[in-house]
């Protein structure tokens, strides 16, 4: 029997040879090829996460020329639904979600751009080595959004003056980055080495902190995407034309009124200017005597000598202060003159309502203006200085007042519109005035265009700063710093030891190179194993993110090596076009066109006795679909799926946006929620009310392999939820529309849509009788709950 079986089954490519060796060693044989209906249904569910339509099925079944399956594979690999399915697998591995987690759990409104990037990377078959590099250091490679990987994990935004808590939070953030990187790319558990040298893998306590140093400059947060070069050029051209118009219009402006008694505008949260006659200064002091509330805050203090800001730390200016609010990385005194605006780089005084800052310039300068603000990004409206004094000195202590809040309108809290220039066209000749008005109209439209071109696209992709020294932490305790540790990679292979002062982006770029190196013994094996897992349900190594000592042995080590090598240096080409190194679609082609993948799924008692889990692949092992694929399949079959790709997420929850965010699963759904579930806002902790129960991970931890558990709550959700009843009604309406009023035809069509097959005669008879008694929607409710519908055959 085993011998016959082996003869019956073709060996279509080297994969089959590796599989057959193991089968033979266990006196097992492969199964015959599955029928075409099973093949296309399996292919669609595995590769696209949705069942095929009757039309797609008919095309494949009707293609009688040789190579029909290969052509089907090519169509499926080119289908953009592939990226939506396999991108989701990757997002599991890297714990991606769109909220911060912990009790505040606030949204990251633009994190979806990273999700779209991942989907596009799969669809475009971005070489995997490049995909790695961009996720670690995309900012250095023109792929800014890629670094969304680094900050895809949870972050505790509840900040406190408690230095222990603050240090612990930062250590947790870095640990998340180190761990996720180790898991995702190397299949290694690095977290253990946070407290001690790894017990099972060659990762020392010190190496862990060397890795930490590679990420030490990465902070959670949004970053503006650099403008693409053509857009930058356009912006420059627009600016030039704006300046030209402004020059042309200058003559229509009357000279500014001299020394009036009109009060100056009130202080503004965004930006304030204090001008005074030019004066020599070596020291500048800004003293705050009252605020709109709380300790005063300044995001940046600029001191102008002509058009030079002489306050910048980079010009050698030193800064001191009355005191700084302790415990906040984002409110350090150094932020006062670091050239970066906004609350995240601001100084806040340690005393409520008062405080001073003092600048010592590198040399004595003739200064004439100060620019300052609370938050020039406009997010924070508090802590604004309302009563202040500006003094200068050339010698220490010999202060001279040059400006103050006196003479400003009192602060009322209302935003102050910037005064607009007034053009006195009526003072000019009709011809001149007409020309002036024309120029002004042009100027306004140019400015509008400029603003829209310059509007930055924000990415939740982290911010980067040159980090302070990294130290080994005794027992992982951030309060027990030990020796300094320079950035470096693992000693696993060709270790890279970097200098302690290596610039921030270089650290990550070096790590990216090391991870993506064809010489790295783990990288290629780990990813091909993940691909294998999502084809067959279980990887060749069934611990997909643990290739370390603690993980399982591969069932087919030689096959794993061969696949890894095919990824890096392809030798076989089953597809129509050329093969690039690191092409994941190449691996898919190899796997999909193997006889192993195309086997029937029928269990055989003799084989079950030897290998109940079908790990040796004597058949294709069927398995339950995951949460997203179940929901997407239901919407597909009901005809309700909105296949719009990409863009901002839709919500499966109602959100209460208090200080702490609350997410309540929706009970009633509108067409806006009929898109694929990969586009649903991925919130940490709170699951979708229906499909979350199907072992859907929430992005709190990496989830390289989902559980496929079976629970009564799943049954309740699928049988009773309003969503499911609604979908059953919609499917019933579709059946009536497409198959007419005859229940027999409706049943036939329902089976085609949901199961891609005709019902057996007895089955059809029973279904028709059921429909006549209980209605078509009841039939649909049962069909959408059926095992056959929820399993990959």
């Amino acid at each position: 029997m085993p011998v016959d079986g082996a003869k019956r089954t073709a060996t279509r490519n080297p994969i089959d040879a590796f599989i057959h060796v193991q089968l033979a060693a266990h006196q097992l044989s492969a199964s015959p090829a599955a029928d075409r209906v099973t093949l296309i249904r399996r292919l669609y569910l595995v590769l696209l996460g949705l069942p095929p339509s009757p039309a797609e099925l008919a095309t494949f079944v009707g293609d009688r020329k040789p190579g029909a399956f290969e052509r089907l594979v090519e169509r499926a690999l080119a289908d953009p639904r592939y990226g939506e399915r396999w991108g989701r697998h990757w997002l599991d591995v890297i714990r991606f979600a769109e909220s911060n987690g912990f009790e505040t759990n606030r949204e990251r409104p633009n994190a979806w751009r990273f999700r779209d990037y991942v989907i596009a990377a799969f669809n475009d078959d971005k070489p995997y080595d490049q995909f790695i590099r961009e996720q670690i250091a995309g900012d250095t490679l023109g792929a800014a959004v890629g670094t969304g990987f680094l900050v895809g994990g949870p972050v505790d935004i509840v900040k406190s003056p408690d230095p222990v808590l603050t240090a612990q939070q930062r250590a947790d953030e870095l640990d998340d980055m180190v761990n996720t990187t180790g898991t995702a790319f190397l299949g290694l558990t690095l977290g253990c080495a946070r407290c001690h040298s790894h017990k099972f893998d060659p990762i020392s306590h010190r190496e862990y902190y060397a890795l930490t140093a590679l990420f030490a400059g990465v902070q959670h947060g949004e970053r503006a995407q650099p403008l693409p070069t053509p857009q930058q050029a356009r912006l420059q051209a627009l600016e030039a034309r704006i300046r030209e118009r402004e020059t042309q219009l200058a003559r229509f402006l009357l000279p500014p009124p001299t020394a009036t008694n009109a009060p100056r505008p009130a202080v503004d949260f965004l930006r304030n200017d204090d001008r005074f006659p030019p004066v020599a200064a070596k020291f500048v002091r800004f003293t705050i005597r009252a605020t709109t509330g709380g300790e005063p805050g300044l995001d940046e203090l600029e001191v102008w000598a002509g058009d030079h800001n002489v306050a910048l730390a980079t010009t050698g200016t030193k800064v001191t202060a009355s005191g700084t609010l302790p415990g906040y990385e984002i409110h350090r005194l150094q932020h006062l003159n670091d050239g970066r605006l906004g609350n995240d780089h601001s100084w806040i005084s340690s005393e409520p309502g008062r405080g001073w800052v003092q600048l010592e310039l590198a040399q004595t300068e003739r200064v004439e203006r100060l620019t300052w603000g609370r938050d020039r990004e406009g997010r924070f409206k508090d802590r604004l200085a309302t009563d202040y004094l500006i003094e200068v000195a050339t010698e220490p202590g010999q202060w001279r007042e040059v400006a103050s809040s006196a003479g400003r309108k009192p602060f009322s809290g209302a935003p102050q519109p910037a005064p607009k220039p007034v053009y006195y066209f009526e003072h000019f000749s009709a011809t001149d005035a007409a020309e002036g008005r024309q120029r002004l109209a042009e100027l306004q439209s140019l400015r509008q265009e400029r603003d829209s071109v310059a509007k930055p696209t924000l990415l939740y992709a982290g911010t980067f700063t040159q980090p302070a020294a990294t130290h080994r932490l005794h027992r992982g305790d951030p309060m027990q710093k030990r020796e300094r540790v320079a950035p470096g990679t693992l000693g696993l292979f060709q270790p890279r030891q970097l200098a302690p002062e290596t610039p921030e982006p270089d650290r990550r770029a070096q790590l990216a190179d090391w991870l993506a190196s064809p010489e790295n013994p783990l990288t290629a094996r780990v990813i091909v194993n993940r691909l294998w897992q999502h084809h067959f349900g279980v990887g060749l190594v069934d611990t997909p993110s643990d290739f370390g000592r603690n993980g399982s042995k591969p069932t087919h080590p030689e096959l794993l090596d061969w696949l890894a090598r095919e990824l890096v240096e392809p030798t076989v080409n089953p597809g129509p076009g050329p093969v690039q190194p690191w092409s994941l679609k190449h691996l898919h082609r190899l796997i999909l066109t193997s006889a192993t993948w195309r086997q029937a799924n029928t269990p055989r008692p003799d084989a079950l006795k030897v290998d109940a889990a079908s790990r040796l692949l004597w058949r294709f092992p069927p398995r339950r679909l995951e949460a997203e694929a179940i929901r997407d399949s239901i919407l597909t079959v009901s005809g309700n799926l909105d296949s719009t790709p990409g863009g901002p997420s839709f919500f499966l929850h109602e959100v209460d946006r208090e200080n702490v965010y609350h997410y309540h699963p929706k009970e009633v759904f509108s067409p806006a929620e009929a898109r694929r579930m990969v586009y649903a806002f991925k919130v940490r902790m709170e699951q979708d009310g229906i499909f979350g129960a199907f072992d859907c991970p929430d992005g709190s931890l990496v989830m390289p392999r989902r559980n496929l558990s079976t629970t009564p709550l799943q049954a309740l959700n699928l049988f009773n939820s309003r969503f499911m009843l609604q979908q059953a009604e919609i499917l019933a309406a579709r059946l009536q529309r497409e198959a007419g009023p005859n229940p027999a035809a409706q049943v036939q069509h329902a089976w085609q849509l949901a199961f891609n097959r005709k019902p057996a005669r007895a089955e059809a008879k029973e279904a028709v009788a059921f429909t006549r008694t209980h209605g078509l929607a009841a039939l649909c409710r049962a069909v959408l709950n059926a095992n056959e519908f929820l399993f990959i055959p």
């Binding site: 912990f102 009790e103 505790d156 509840v158 406190s160 003056p161 408690d162 612990q168 898991t183 558990t189 099972f200 893998d201 060659p202 000693g491 292979f493 010489e519 790295n520 013994p521 290629a524 611990t543 643990d546 370390g548 000592r549 399982s552 042995k553 591969p554 080590p557 090598r565 799924n601 269990p603 069927p622 339950r624 609350h662 699963p665 709190s700 931890l701 990496v702 989830m703 559980n707 496929l708 079976t710 009564p712 709550l713 799943q714 309740l716 049988f719 009773n720 939820s721 057996a760 089955e763 029973e766 059921f770 008694t773 209980h774 009841a778 409710r781 049962a782 095992n787 056959e788 399993f791």
Partner: protein, 500 residues
């Protein structure tokens, strides 16, 4: 649900070949070299084999044997969300009263969650001796105080974090980070349940809403979803439990029967497939739950004296109404315990809404007024629950645990009338199966600031709870992402001193 093969201690010969055979990596040699250099080849994982319970796919809640004879069959855990002050309830500190208004020595160096400290502040509530044992307990919780002879206090709890989210995670899952399985999930994963028509693990949120770190408190983490706490309380039923109102029971049953026939016909092609059988069984269990749970949650059969015992019968004021709502949750908890539900987690206090300390125990600014609501709401219903469990003989098999995410400072915050977070010392208590009665373990310093004697970490508490359930916390494991995970991470000692 399959697990990695039991090859964890397997020799590395295959692995070595796995790396050595490669033609793409020189590094393979380096790895094996490093392994051997560090003496790791052939090292064993730990002294003892992990115990991973086998979960039958069709019956995830089937009862499973404990590791050794258990003292408790089930657990009722009462969680006060927000950080309940030990100093205003159970941790009596005469020195705090004596030194009221003076600075806490060393305060100038202490920066707590919200910043600087004011002076030491005695509790606004007087303490007096309670029960035969004479335990000093405050007037904030007199009904619980009256049960002092049944309670087993741990005054020397120590946490790891002073923020709520991580604090609740730590108490409920053993980790400060999100994403780890909860204590109840571990217990039901290990033991299954006695009753097959009810969920094995029920979480009862406060009438005002979920706790601060929400469903993380009863999450399955990386354990199979079957072991998550099923969430409902006396006012909010299980989502999607009820038969859709448009359908009659007959219609529903006919649809279920038709579905079953569909599934059975499909399963004929896959004889012996346990996953398919499990899904068929899950619809049967769901149907049973549809009958049993509404019956269980219907408190109308409770007699008047029971409602009175819990304080579920009084309205007329905000306090009374909230207390009655919490009391109904307490009665529900008793009914679940009575039915043999393995793990019941009852919450007092909800997420923050309307400001700090309004909806939970987070009394930063206005301790007196806020606790004047929270104390009475907790006190009588919880005491009623204990009395009722005892009079029904349920305390013989049930372990009751009262806990919170951390304690509070003996000082008032600078410029405020309340206490800041304090994970350095706080109180939990246990009662019922397997623990001493009228007993106190460990202590904080003279002001109640830091645990100093017989310190008990949250890992120790968890180890003790598992021990009482007959489980070895070092051996109960689940493999996830490269690590043989435990509830207690790599820590935890059973607190033997409190065992009866």
């Amino acid at each position: 649900m399959s697990q990695p093969a039991a090859s964890l201690q397997g020799p590395l010969t295959n692995r070595r070949r796995f790396f050595a055979d490669t033609s793409i990596g020189l590094g393979a040699i380096a790895l094996t070299h490093l392994l051997s250099r560090q003496g790791l080849l052939g090292a064993s994982v730990s002294g003892q084999e992990p115990i991973r319970p086998l979960i039958p796919p069709g019956q995830p809640y089937a009862p499973r044997p404990a590791h050794f004879a258990p003292r408790a069959k089930n657990v009722l855990l009462i969680f006060c969300s927000g950080g309940c002050s030990q100093l205003d309830t159970f941790d009596y500190k005469p020195e705090l009263i004596r030194r009221h208004g003076q600075p806490l020595p060393g305060t100038e160096k202490i920066i707590t969650f919200q910043g600087e400290q004011g002076a030491l502040n005695r509790s606004p509530w007087a303490f007096r001796p309670r029960g035969q044992c004479g335990k000093m307990i405050s007037d904030l919780v007199p009904h619980l105080g009256a049960l002092a002879d049944d309670l087993c206090f741990i005054h020397s709890m120590k946490g790891k974090t002073n923020t709520h989210g991580p604090g609740e995670n730590y108490m409920s899952t053993g980790y400060t980070l999100d994403g780890f399985p909860s204590l109840g999930a571990w217990a039901t994963y290990a033991l299954g349940s006695a009753d097959q028509s009810l969920p094995a693990y029920v979480a009862i949120p406060d009438p005002r809403g979920k706790p601060q770190n929400s469903v993380n408190n009863w999450a399955p983490g990386f354990l199979p979803a079957a072991f998550q706490g099923t969430e409902f309380n006396a006012t909010t039923p299980i989502r999607n439990l009820a038969r859709p109102p448009a359908f009659t029971a007959e219609h529903d049953q006919a649809t279920r029967s038709f579905l079953r026939r569909l599934n059975e016909r499909h399963a004929e092609q896959f004889p012996g497939d346990s996953q398919l059988a499990a899904r068929i069984a899950s619809y049967e269990l769901a149907a049973r739950m549809q009958l049993t749970i509404p019956e269980l949650a219907d408190l109308s059969s409770e007699p008047a004296h029971i409602l009175r015992l819990y304080g579920a019968d009084e309205g007329g004021s905000k306090t009374n109404e909230l207390r009655a709502a919490y009391a109904r949750n307490c009665i529900l908890a008793r009914r679940l315990v009575e039915q043999g539900v393995r793990f019941v987690q009852l919450f007092n206090g909800a997420y923050q809404t309307g400001g700090e300390g309004v909806s939970n125990w987070d009394g930063h600014k206005d301790l007196l007024n806020q606790y004047s609501l929270h104390g009475p709401v907790l006190d009588r219903p919880t005491a009623g629950l204990l009395i009722d469990l005892k009079q029904r003989g349920l305390l013989d098999d049930t372990l009751v645990v009262w806990c919170t995410e951390f304690g509070r400072m003996p000082t008032f915050q600078k410029g405020s009338q309340g206490r800041d977070h304090n994970p350095n010392g706080f109180t939990c208590w246990l009662a019922g199966a397997g623990v001493k009665k009228g007993f106190s373990h460990g202590s904080t310093d003279e002001f109640g600031y830091q645990s100093v004697e017989q310190i008990v970490t949250v890992h120790d508490l968890h180890a003790t709870i598992l021990h009482l359930l007959g489980l070895d916390h070092e051996r109960l494991t689940y493999y996830h992402n490269g690590i043989e995970r435990r509830l207690t991470d790599v820590e935890g000692d059973v607190v033997k001193n409190i065992l009866s």
